[in-house]
Each structure stands twice: as C-alpha cells, then as structure tokens.
C-alpha cells in the first residue's frame, strides 16, 4: 500500500481538482482530505457519510465564577492572552476574569496554578472526522470547528483512519489532498508518505511557494514530483519552475493546460475526469500514470 500526498505550497493551484480526477483514475484506493481547514474534496465526490466521530484537539480552560476570588494570577501567567475581563452588558468590565475559548491554547497552566482551583479544564470538541462512501471508494475527511486550532492533530487522525481502511480492505493507494503552506498541518500531511506531488502554477508566487514546499519535502526526505497547472498562462515561468525543481532533484510529472472545463466540472459537482473530451482530463491522467511509475520504480530500485 502506497500513500501519495498532493500539496501545493500556494493555495488555489487546482490541487483538489487534480485529486478529484485521481480519484477517478486510480484503482483500489482510499481518499483522505487532509485540507481540514478548507475541506473541499467532498463537494465533488458525492460522499455518503457512514461513520462520524468528534475530535478533540485538546482541552480548554473555564473559570468557575462562583469559586474565583479574582486574584489575577491566571491573567498574568497565560502566555496566549486568552484571559481578560470582558465588558458586561452595562459596559463596565466584568468582576471576574474569563477565558476566551478562541484564544485558549489548552496548555492548562492556569488550571494548575489557580490557588483556589477555580479553573476547570475539559477536553473540547474541535472538529468532526468522517468516513464516507463515494463512487470512487472510501473517503476519510474532516471538518475543523470554526476558529479551532490544532489542525495538525486532526490531519493525523484523518490519515490514521485512511490507513486503517486501506489495510483492512487491502487497498493499493491512499491519495491525500493536503493543505496549503508549509506549517503544521502540511507537516502532519506528508511525514511518512511514500511520495509527495507538488502542484504549482506558472507565476512568481507559485514559484516562490513551490521552492518552499520543495525545501520542506527535502527536510523530511520524501520523494517528490512536480506538476504545473495552467502552465500555458506563462510558459516561460513554467519552464523556469521545472528547471529549478530539477536542480532540487524533483522531476516533473506533467503539465496541465488552462481548461475551463475544470471549473465547469466543479460547478457540476464532479471532476474533470467525467469530461471525456477535455484536454485537462488527458493531461491529469498522464500525471497520474507518472506518479504510479515513480512509485513502482522506488519499489524495485
């Protein structure tokens, strides 16, 4: 079983549309949407949820008003400015401090140091994790609660579940739709993957972000391929990105031209794979073939 993570560095390069097509091309796979902050894959693969569980990224502190003596110690010590005196209805600041759950990082420091033990600390639900049936096979996806942190932990949970399904059902591939950026959710999405595919676009921003993503995969020593989407918007930049990627040991897996049917497919809640005459479909298929080839090569070599 092989795990392929599709990431982009820069958002909006067409990563999810590509993953949706891979879903149609690949046989015997599990899909994992690890872009938990902006989980969009479910919009184009018609999932039917068969299982869901709530996810807790950690605990949150809560001050019990009737026990608090307003000594102010927690306010002083909280490193995340999560504790304050909120204005009450009459405009005056409240008498008792309050923990803003949006800013609380769940370190529990306040609860441990409160001299009268007035601070409760309970696990907080910060998202939901789903297993769904789709016409393309099982999919694990998630939804992070509004203004919740710790997406890295939720990403790890999604991958764990996908792996369990893949093992149980002897699936050949796990295809991961990763988040943008190079920070904690991306790291959680790629560590231990067999292959990373970076989807870039031929712009200076795309180039800059591809280089950062490439640095990240090199840091974790994960074999990496590159795909440039909408390459014909600026062919020279596309050439340059591929050239620079090669120097970093990242080979191109193919290029995809600008094709309005990609957006059209999204609006019709499907992938471009269901548009037989679309040029993007053929190009995406080629990218997938190259991904498979590279995976098989790394197996024998």
């Amino acid at each position: 079983m092989k795990e392929i993570s599709v990431i982009s560095g820069k958002g909006g390069t067409g990563k999810t549309s590509l993953v949706a097509s891979f879903a149609a091309f690949a046989e015997n796979k599990v899909l994992a949407d690890c872009d938990v902050d902006a989980a969009d894959l479910y919009l184009v693969v018609q999932p039917e949820t068969i299982y869901q569980e709530s996810f807790s990224g950690g605990g949150k502190a809560e001050i019990q008003e009737d026990q608090c003596t307003d000594c102010g110690l927690c306010l002083q010590q909280c490193r995340f400015d999560a504790i304050s005196y909120p204005p009450s209805q009459n405009g005056e600041p409240a008498q008792i401090p309050w923990v803003n759950p949006i800013f609380c990082e769940g370190c529990r420091l306040c609860a441990r140091i409160c001299p009268v033990e007035a601070i409760a600390f309970e696990p907080a639900e910060s998202g939901l994790c789903y297993i769904s049936k789709t016409p393309y096979g099982p999919m694990v996806h998630a939804r992070l609660g509004i203004a919740q942190g710790n997406s890295g932990k939720l990403v790890s949970l999604v991958r764990e579940k996908a792996k369990a399904i893949a093992e149980k059902e002897s699936r050949d591939y796990i295809i991961v739709d990763g988040p943008p950026g190079v920070g904690c959710p991306v790291i959680a999405s790629i560590t231990g993957s067999d292959l990373v595919l970076i989807v870039s676009e031929p712009t200076l921003s795309g180039r800059h972000d591809m280089l950062r993503a490439a640095e990240l995969t090199a840091h974790f020593q994960i074999p990496t391929l590159l795909c440039i989407n909408k390459w014909d918007i600026h062919p020279e930049t596309a050439d340059r990105i591929e050239r620079e990627a090669r120097q970093l040991g990242i080979l191109p897996a193919g290029r995809i031209g600008y094709d309005p049917s990609v957006t059209k497919a999204q609006i019709h809640k499907t992938s471009v794979a269901s548009y037989p005459d679309s040029p993007a479909k053929k190009e995406m298929h080629q990218v997938w073939e190259n991904v498979i080839k590279t995976l098989n090569k790394s197996e024998t070599g």
């Binding site: 982009s8 560095g9 820069k10 958002g11 909006g12 390069t13 999810t16 902050d37 902006a38 969009d40 919009l43 184009v44 605990g59 010590q77 490193r79 995340f80 949006i102 800013f103 990082e105 769940g106 370190c107 529990r108 420091l109 441990r112 140091i113 992070l144 509004i146 203004a147 919740q148 942190g149 710790n150 997406s151 890295g152 988040p179 943008p180 950026g181 190079v182 920070g183 904690c184 959710p185 991306v186 790291i187 031929p202 712009t203 200076l204 921003s205 800059h208 972000d209 950062r212 640095e215 990240l216 840091h219 918007i233 600026h234 930049t237 309005p260 957006t263 999204q266 609006i267 809640k269």
Partner: protein
C-alpha cells in the same frame, strides 16, 4: 501613538487573489496620500514582496522560548513531562528530553518544575524583515522550514507595524490558529473569494470565523464571471456587503504571473481599486452608525 486602522485581507480558500487585493489596495491608498503599512502575515508563503519589491532595511530572527534543563538541579522527578499538554517533554531513565518542534512555549514546565531546573531559552522559528516600498512601510515574516510556530512569527510581524494611518494585513488562507492570530486585531476584515463551489464553501467558513471574532467585514469576489451565482446569492441572503467584483481578465493573470501590480498597467483597475476604498468608507459609516463612538473615532483618525 495614533491609533492605526487595521484592515485584514483574508480568505478561507487559498489562491483567490488575497495578495493581489492587499498589495494593490496598499498602493492605491498610498497614492491617495495616506501613510500605509503593509504586513505580510502569510508567513508560511509570503508573496507580497514579489509585487511590492521593497528595499529591506532590517532583518531579525523571530524566536520563541523553549525550556532547557539544568542537569545539576534536575532530579528526574518527571513533573514537567506529566504537565506538558503537548507531549513536548519526556523523562526517560531520569533524563529529560525536550522536543522543541512540539513545544507551544506555554511556560508551564519551567514555572512548575519543583527543583527550578528548567530555564527558558530562545529558539529561532522564523525571520522578520522590514523595509519600504514606494512610500509604503513594509514588513514580512517567514516561518523557517520544518517549524510550526507560525502564530509567533505573525505576532512579530504585527508588532513591527509603525505609526501610520492604515495597516493592511495580508493574512494566511484558511480559518485556523494562524488566521486568527492575523485577524484578531483587525478593525475591518475583507474576505476574498471566487464564485465556485470551493470558493463558496471556504467563504462560508471564513464568514463564520469572522463572526466568531465579532469583526465587521465585507467580501470581494475575484474572477466573478468564471463560475455561478451562488456566492452572490449567499451574500445577499446573509446581508453581507460585496465591496468589489474583479472580472476574470487575462491582463490581470499575466501581470500577477510576472509579479507586477495590476493597477499600474491598467488604468481601469486603478479606478476599480480607488472605488474599493470608497465602498469601504461607505461601509464603515454604516457600521459606525450602529456602533458607539470608539469605532467612529478610529475611523476619523484613519482619515476616512
């Protein structure tokens, strides 16, 4: 110090044109004679510099504090490992192991170590750069590869803001901790989206986040003619102001690809962005009519 007016440019989904809006708005405002500070808070992938081409005049490391063990004082009791909520400390055979990449710098371990054996030391997680670009004050942060402490870098960028009328915060995409760190001091949030199902889904999440933070906000629809009407219908239904609609235009895409400011090569876009500022002012008047004097005062100080 004068109160600055903070405008955060955010989007649930990446690649919707957030940076295009942020840099071009900054330049239009500077052209109108305002003192503008641009802050690139997208520290995982900072791109604003590509368009503003600033002269960087200072660089500094961004650090967070992490614990370090004083072996002489440590008796291996294991209290630190048991209180760290992020499993960033382990005690194995009386030896303390610290995993800096898991540490959230909460300070609990050093504060609560019974032997006073943990001290906090600086750990570099990113870089802060400041400078100037055509009269615009510029600052950007860059998270070091392999690090996770993006919020700390964003905080450093915000603290680098100088005295001026308007601060433009170019935020990271999404709705989680990084975005919240960037948006939490904003006086106004502009959400940039696209008229597609992905754009709508991510806009909805971004709106919910902005509401949770109780911020006034409006929407910009980029490439408004590529998709369907669902985003507009949603905004109308929810009574959300649409500040601007940018057409899908090859000239914009090309200028973006080259790293140019679109308003510089296209007069009509310059006008479009100038009218964005008018729309924002109208919106602010509407909001301040519903709110108290504080907002009114800050708005006047921003020169609106």
């Amino acid at each position: 110090m004068k109160k600055r007016f903070n405008i955060a440019i955010a989007s649930g989904k990446g690649g919707t044109g957030k940076t295009t809006v942020a840099v071009n708005l900054a330049v239009v405002l500077a052209d109108l004679g305002k003192c503008v500070q641009y802050l690139d808070c997208d520290v995982e992938e900072p791109n604003g510099h590509i368009f503003l081409k600033p002269d960087i005049t200072s660089r500094s490391a961004v650090t967070v504090s992490i614990p370090e063990v004083n072996e002489e004082k440590c008796n291996g009791c294991g209290v630190c490992a048991s209180i760290c909520e992020y499993k960033a400390i382990a005690v194995i055979k009386d030896k303390v192991l610290i995993f800096p990449e898991l540490c959230h710098s909460c300070g609990a371990c050093s504060l609560l170590c019974p032997e006073d054996a943990l001290v906090e030391v600086d750990n570099e997680v990113g870089e802060l750069e400041t400078g100037e670009s055509q009269g615009i004050r510029f600052a950007q942060g860059r998270l070091n590869i392999g690090q996770i402490a993006a919020p700390a870098v964003i905080k450093a960028v915000k603290e680098a803001a100088q005295d001026c009328d308007i601060v433009i915060l170019d935020c990271p995409p999404g709705t989680s901790c990084n975005v919240i760190e960037a948006v939490k001091d904003a006086d106004l949030v502009i959400l940039v989206t696209e008229p597609t199902p992905f754009g709508l889904n991510d806009l909805y999440l971004a709106v919910e986040m902005t509401k949770a933070l109780a911020k006034p906000f409006g929407v910009i629809i980029n490439r408004y003619d590529i998709g369907d009407d669902e985003v507009i219908n949603y905004c109308n239904r929810e009574n959300i102001d649409i500040f601007m609609k940018i057409p899908d235009d090859r000239r914009i895409a090309e200028a973006y690809a080259r790293g140019d400011l679109v308003i510089k090569s296209n007069e009509w876009l310059n006008e479009l962005f100038a009218s964005l500022w008018d729309r924002i002012r109208i919106y602010l008047e509407k909001v301040s009519a519903d709110h108290n004097g504080d907002f009114e005062k800050r708005k006047t100080e921003a020169g609106t």
